[in-house]
């Protein structure tokens, strides 16, 4: 039996303002992302990449359409869950451009906090944090504060934090923007590994052409509309 998509976006539109000041940030975007795949979203500034990421991340309410995350219909003309933060905690991991580690927590605490927010005990959360740091190869830096970590190490801790609650969806906003080519490639390899081993759907917003070869598919957004991946539509499990 064919696998179900982890992210199903159908006809999502989002506009800001009314009348002559109305801006259509997203126009009828449909997108399926399957487990184990890493897709890229590219496009010029203002094309709607971040808006789409915010919508899939349940941070921004669309104007119309429907959305299913990990099989659960979460939006259909309106949010179907009141506790969107709980939904994010449970289903989505976020990776940011500038890692966004909490500056007052060390590496393992930054990972553990996500687990604790989801209801785990501090002891369980610590065990999970160290497991993830080991998995990503930076266990020896578990007690380092964010300011003591290199850019690559910090981004790996951020990836570990995104994985803390075993989410099926990982949203990454320009995760390699602040890294050199080598570290950017390492981070992308890490995301591919996570997608493959955790059967997660990874959506990456990027401008970084150096990493385009690391994606299963790359989508372009232009004026709020999603263009199909060049030459890949038929062969890919990612559908528009």
């Amino acid at each position: 039996m064919a696998e179900q998509p982890v992210v199903e976006v159908r006809g999502i539109s989002k506009h800001f303002g009314k009348g002559p000041t109305r801006v259509d940030a997203l126009r009828g975007v449909s997108l399926d992302v399957y487990p184990g795949t890493v897709i890229g979203l590219k496009g010029p500034s203002g094309s709607g990449k971040s808006t789409l990421l915010n919508v899939i991340g349940c941070i921004l309410e669309p104007s119309s359409g429907s959305m299913r995350l990990n099989g659960e219909l979460v939006y259909d003309g309106k949010w179907l869950r009141a506790d969107l933060r709980g939904l994010r905690l449970e289903k989505i991991g976020f990776i940011f451009q500038s890692h966004n580690l909490l500056p007052f927590l060390n590496a393992w605490e930054n990972i553990a906090v996500t687990r604790i927010l989801a209801g785990a005990s501090p002891a369980q959360a610590r065990i999970r944090a160290v497991e993830l740091l080991t998995y990503l190869g930076i266990e020896r830096r578990k007690d380092a504060m964010p300011g003591e970590l290199s850019g690559g190490e910090a981004q790996r801790v951020a990836i570990a934090r995104a994985l803390a609650n075993d989410p099926r969806i990982i949203l990454a906003d320009e995760p390699t923007a602040a890294l050199d080519s080598q570290r950017a490639a390492t981070v992308m390899d890490m995301l591919r590994k996570v997608a493959a081993e955790h059967r997660s759907a990874v959506i990456v917003v990027t401008h970084d052409e150096k990493i385009f070869d690391r994606f299963d598919h790359i989508y372009s957004l232009r004026d709020g509309a999603l263009e199909p991946p060049a030459g890949a539509a038929a062969a890919t499990p990612v559908l528009q």
Binding site: S50, L53, N54, G57, I59, L60, R85, G86, L87, R88, L89, E90, F94, F96, Q97, S98, N100, L102, P103, F104, L105, E109, A112, V113, T114, I116, L117, A118, P122, A125, M145, R161, D173, E174, A177
Partner: protein
Amino acid sequence: MNLALKDISHNLGRFLLTCLGLSLLLGIVLAMVGIYRGLVVESLGLVRAAGAQVWVVEGGTRGPFAEASRLPGDTREAIAAQWGVASAGGVSYQNIEAQHRGQTTRLMVVGAQIARPGEAPPVVEGRPILRSRYEAVADRGAGLALGEQIRLGRDTFTVVGLTSGLVASGGDPVIFITLRDAQKLQFDLAPAAARREYVRSAGATGTTDTVNAIVVRLLPGVDANRFAQDIVRWKHLAALTQDDQETVLARSVIDRARRQIGLFTSLLLTVSTVIVGLIIYTMTIDKKKAIATLKLIGAPDRRIVGLIVQQAIAMGVISFVAGAALIGAGHGYFPRRVVLEPADSLALFGVVMVACLLASGLGVRTALKIDPASALAG
């Protein structure tokens, strides 16, 4: 994992420095309350030292502390002869400036009769006044040593005993001498012209024997209020019970100081609240990205509110404890007595906690308005 404590320990130096500043403010607030309590204790100390149950004063006055009161000295005999009186003594009070060790010292001179109500309370060093002339019992606050001599008016007095913590409502240390010496001192200190008039009028009747009040102790079972009412019938006399006297003193002498100190204390607490509010607000602004990230990854609002409120409370607790410790250690160096009562400290602690909660409101409001999407912005 307590995020508030983690954040505090991350910025420990800045947090403690802020607490230090706030602790000085709260220490001053505590000192103000202590100064007020000290003022009450000091003011009532002299009234209570007399050991009176009833104060007989000049008719139509509420003397001798709130208003001037003058009575013929022989009124004491008339009062002492009343039914129910155990003992009665004439007392006089006057503020003077005396030269002592080359410096001018302000003193409250109390003239009292030996072994009668109104005389000096038990001494902590030396002995009570036993001779009818030129002996004094001084409070330690006057800076006089046992056996030391001090010139008051035209006469020199030897300090034979010392009391402790006995000052007038103005803060002047008290020195007890005999009533006879005090009456002479009053006469000696009057300007020459006044003295001449005094001799011409009062001298014609052959007396300078006046007192400011008669201090009365009653026999057991005699009602002080009833006795005071009986005395008032004499028209030219007024009488106040000890409770009345303390109330009058509290209202007329202490009340304005209480309001002044109360106002100042309120202002300081308001300033402290504003400072806590601004600091917490600044700390929240500094954490804007961290808060947005926490919201984005799914932290509920109560976690965010807890982070800010706990920091405000921690700031209040640390500052209060440091301020209280500072004043506790330094209250002996204040020129006026500072009385620190646990109940006052507890009440102030409660006020500080409420102030911290109020002050954290601005930070909480700011934090709750932070858009989680801002965590995604570069």
